[in-house]
């Protein structure tokens, strides 16, 4: 019998499975195709501003993503180097195949068992999940993590063509989607997209601006596995007025504008047709041409995700400098999928009213590998806690981007795919990519989820902080730089802490609280905040409602 079953072997699923296993759980990872574990289905890069912070945080808990990225990096850039260290964003481009290989290896090292099967339904008994019905039979377990990404009742769009499935050439999970809806978790549909893949041999590289890899020797992970791959160059080009003309002339053939797609797409990662429509005055949009691997002939043109018909894609791509004779190997497409309302989850990513069921990744309305992986870590650690009766692991807004994300998701919900940005973190000055070990090292050790090698690294980092040379280290200098601001934030934090100590009873009947308007009852009911501090951050909740809530909670506590 498995302690924890994880459905889906994407970035969330792999991290969840490995994290649960590191806490001592026997873990089964369910997937249609084992060779797809750790597949980068969209852009071949890991990290960035905000996202790189998440990867470094994952790494402290011995997560897979940072080490897999280091083992497959073929281009590195520290974004925002000209700005303050709080927002430096480590980003690597990874060789797609090597990345998958690295994730596969790490899963084996973590003793995760791969189960090739389709999850058909959850077995629920007495309000708790006790197993998964699969295409290969029933599997009992102590906790389940659903990490099905975009595969829940997914549809792909290429122009007028609609294909059922979550990713090119792959199936979707319809049976499970139906049950998720029955449980009442279904929230709505979201949309995301991907650009066409180009044949590297048909790109005119000579005429394009180059973007070389950083010279500096930094890595994603604090543990160096010693892999140094040759570094490739990227190139930069732009769309032209002609490109926009072609796209504009074909608006009516875009499923986005024809109304075929109902799901809302991310504003920060718009399709090229969206960009052309919404920002009509712009004469060009930047495109990064990113090689997908050392021995891979595919190029990922970052910046032109599209769901226009294949023939239009061909036309507009060839109107771009350097791509005049390019061949499209696979057309871009949009994918629309079902997501759940993450406000139904608690801070451990467990569904509030269904014990033992955890959700992680894109199913919760997020976008991006890093966001998915970070949720996978939280869900995996806590699924193991549920199955083996270990202490919960909660992440805090003040000490991690993982905490910011989980808090945002479970409190505010999502109306568009959620992407991590440093602007979301009010304690941004303290949450740097360079001090993840300092921030989370103790929590990782306490969670008892790290290898001996990691434990030594964390302990030696703490020792380093007390040494004489610390002030001259990169992290020490950044600490000093932000010290006055961080102190000021400490006062803000003290006020939050005061409210965070006021717990709101889980069975509180909001409608019975005197002085609470119907609107406030509805808003609070949808979220069911755990503390007064969380209630204060629920969108639209007024100070008057808060005080009424405070009185009600205190009265209950006194009774």
């Amino acid at each position: 019998m498995f302690d924890v079953l994880v459905i889906g072997a994407g970035h969330a699923g792999c991290e969840a499975a490995a994290a649960a296993a590191r806490r001592g759980a026997r873990v089964g990872l369910l997937t249609f195709r084992p060779e797809d574990a750790g597949q980068m289905s969209c852009n071949p890069s890991i990290g960035g501003v905000g996202k790189g912070h998440l990867v470094r945080e994952l790494d402290v808990f011995d997560g897979l993503m940072a080490r897999a990225a280091d083992r497959s990096a073929i281009h590195r850039r520290m974004l925002n180097r000209s700005k303050g260290p709080a927002v430096w964003g480590p980003r690597v481009q990874a060789d797609r195949k090597l990345y998958r290989t690295a994730v596969g290896q790490l899963l084996r090292e973590n003793r995760v068992e791969i189960v090739i099967a389709e999850a058909l339904s959850l077995v629920i008994r007495n309000g708790a999940v006790v197993g998964v019905e699969t295409s290969e039979g029933a599997l009992p377990c102590g906790a389940v993590v659903i990490a099905t990404g975009t595969f829940l009742d997914a549809r792909m769009f290429i122009g007028e063509q609609v294909i059922e499935g979550g990713r090119r050439g792959e199936r979707a999970s319809f049976a499970l989607a139906e049950q998720v809806r029955q449980i009442g978790l279904g929230q709505g549909r979201l949309k995301t997209g991907t650009p066409p893949r180009l044949d590297a041999r048909t790109v005119d590289w000579a005429g394009l601006e180059e973007q070389p890899s950083d010279l500096g020797d930094w890595a994603m992970s604090a543990l160096d596995d010693g892999v140094r791959l040759p570094q490739l160059r990227c190139a930069i080009t732009r769309t032209s007025a002609r490109t926009h003309e072609i796209i504009r002339a074909n608006f009516d053939r875009s499923p986005l504008f024809a109304g075929a797609i109902e799901g809302r797409g991310p504003r920060y990662c718009p399709s090229i047709e969206d960009k052309v429509k919404r920002f009509a005055d712009r004469d060009g949009h930047q495109i990064f041409l990113e090689p997908e691997g050392l021995d891979d002939l595919l190029v990922y043109p970052n910046g032109i995700s599209t769901s226009l018909p294949a023939d239009v894609q061909q036309d507009f791509v060839r109107s771009i400098a350097g791509l005049e004779r390019v061949d499209i190997v696979r057309p871009g497409y949009a994918v629309e999928y079902e997501f759940v309302d993450p406000r139904r989850l608690g801070g451990t990513l467990e569904v509030r009213d269904l014990r033992g069921l955890f959700l992680a990744g894109q199913i919760n309305g997020t976008t991006g590998y890093e966001e998915a992986a970070a949720q996978g870590l939280a869900a995996g650690l806590n699924a193991a806690a549920r199955a083996l009766d270990l202490p919960e692991v909660r992440f805090d807004r003040r000490t991690s981007y993982i905490g910011v994300m989980i808090d945002d998701l479970t409190l505010q919900g999502v109306s568009e795919p959620y992407r991590m940005m440093t602007a979301r973190a009010e304690y941004r000055l303290s949450l740097r990519a360079d001090n993840a070990t300092t921030r989370l090292g103790s929590a990782a050790l306490a969670a008892n989820c790290v290898s001996d090698r990691r434990r030594r690294q964390i302990e030696s980092h703490f020792e380093c902080r007390t040494s004489a040379g610390w002030a001259d280290s990169e992290e020490g200098r950044a600490d000093a730089l932000y010290e006055p601001y961080v102190q000021r934030q400490q006062r803000e934090w003290d006020a939050v802490q005061r409210d965070a100590r006021v717990w709101i009873p889980t069975d509180l009947d909001y409608a019975s609280i005197p002085g609470l308007s119907n609107e406030m009852v509805e808003r609070l009911e949808a979220v069911r905040p755990e503390t007064l501090d969380q209630a204060a951050r629920v969108h639209g909740v007024t100070p008057a409602a808060l005080s009424a809530l405070y009185v009600a909670a205190s009265r209950r506590a006194a009774a």
Binding site: G50, G84, K275, A423, L546
Partner: protein
């Protein structure tokens, strides 16, 4: 007194005015009107004079709210620009925004302009006119003469625990509170030292100071009226230049003095149709202005963004308002970002 104490405390690190309802958590209204409007309504209830009523109405009608919303909008825009350069350095966002710091400075000076305007408190509570001078200069006699001539709304009698007397008056339609520091003079030495300090604090917090001592011993104050008192005595019949010769006994010079006090008092009142800030609002706006000044002076964009976040939250505390989502809305509606 309260004001000067608050002003002194406010300069100490870590101290600020409590938010309304911070202790009681009994908050303003249920989202239909915001804090500035609620305050306008409260003032309306207390309003006694015509100009008070108008100021209260202007506030209640949301004129200030509109102004604050406009500032919030501008700070949001500045925030969005900073965040764009931070989170989208690699995705079509600019590496830097050269005009950002001058735009922050521009908004700061606008807020400062508002802070320099007359406040609502003199209108609401009366203009504080302090009669000061050495013992036996005739302060009490003068106060009695003024109070006798003008209609006293309420009269506070000096009690054993009081160290000064306050007389609220309506002086030619202008609400004033006349304060006499008279009770200090008979105090014991030790207490007198405290009394002197208090009287200095009263003068500092005063809107208008009426000085009865030697002209060259007058305290520094922007609205100082020098009085040559006891002008009915033969040896004091003529006062120095720049002083008004007044006799509380004969009434000489009293009309001129009252006209001067009324004129000075009017200058600290908001114009009848103008919006005016109260102490709480001014406090938050001052905080926002300080953060904007910070944003204009630092070079690290992360710190610019941090100062703007503080400015935003200071303005938000005026109305109860925006969060991160609003910044992101501003960001994505104005700029084309993302790969």
């Amino acid at each position: 007194m309260v004001d000067s104490l608050l002003a002194a405390l406010g300069t100490l690190d870590g101290l600020r005015l409590a938010e309304p309802g911070e202790f009681t958590r009994r908050a303003f209204e249920n989202g239909r009107i915001d804090l500035t409007e609620a305050e306008g309504l409260a003032d309306l209830i207390e309003a006694e004079t015509e100009s008070q009523r108008k100021a209260a109405l202007a506030l209640a009608e949301g004129g200030l709210r509109k102004q604050i919303e406009q500032w919030q909008e501008r700070v949001l825009d500045l925030s969005a620009r900073a965040e764009r350069a931070i989170d989208y350095a690699d995705e079509g966002g600019p590496e830097s925004d050269p005009e950002l710091s001058s735009d922050c400075a521009e908004l700061e000076s606008e807020l400062k302009g508002w802070l320099a305007r007359p406040r609502i408190e003199p209108l609401k509570d009366g203009v504080r006119v302090v009669v000061a001078g050495p013992p036996n200069a005739g302060k009490s006699s003068l106060l009695n003469a003024i109070a006798g001539q003008e209609r006293a709304i309420v009269t506070d009698l000096p009690g054993t625990t009081r160290d000064h007397i306050e007389v609220p008056l309506s002086l030619r339609g202008v609400p004033i509170v006349l304060t006499d520091t008279a009770g200090l003079r008979h105090a014991l030495d030790q207490v007198e030292a405290i009394g002197v300090a208090r009287s200095a604090a009263l003068i500092e917090a005063a809107d208008v100071v009426v000085w009865l001592g030697e002209a060259d011993a007058a305290p520094a104050h922007p609205r100082l009226i020098k009085v040559h008192s006891k002008a009915d005595l033969p040896e004091r019949a003529v006062g120095p230049k720049g002083s008004i010769a007044v006799s509380a006994v004969s009434g000489q010079g009293l009309t001129l003095l009252l006209a001067r006090i009324a004129a000075q008092a009017t200058s600290v009142l908001p114009a009848e149709d103008a919006l005016a800030l109260n102490r709480r609002q001014a406090g938050h706006i001052e905080e926002a202005a300080k953060s904007l000044a910070g944003a204009a002076s630092v070079t690290d964009l992360v710190l610019v963004a941090e100062e703007l976040r503080l400015a935003r939250s200071a303005l938000d505390r005026l109305t109860g308002g925006a969060g991160v989502e609003d910044v992101l809305d501003a960001l994505f509606s104005r700029f084309c970002l993302g790969k």
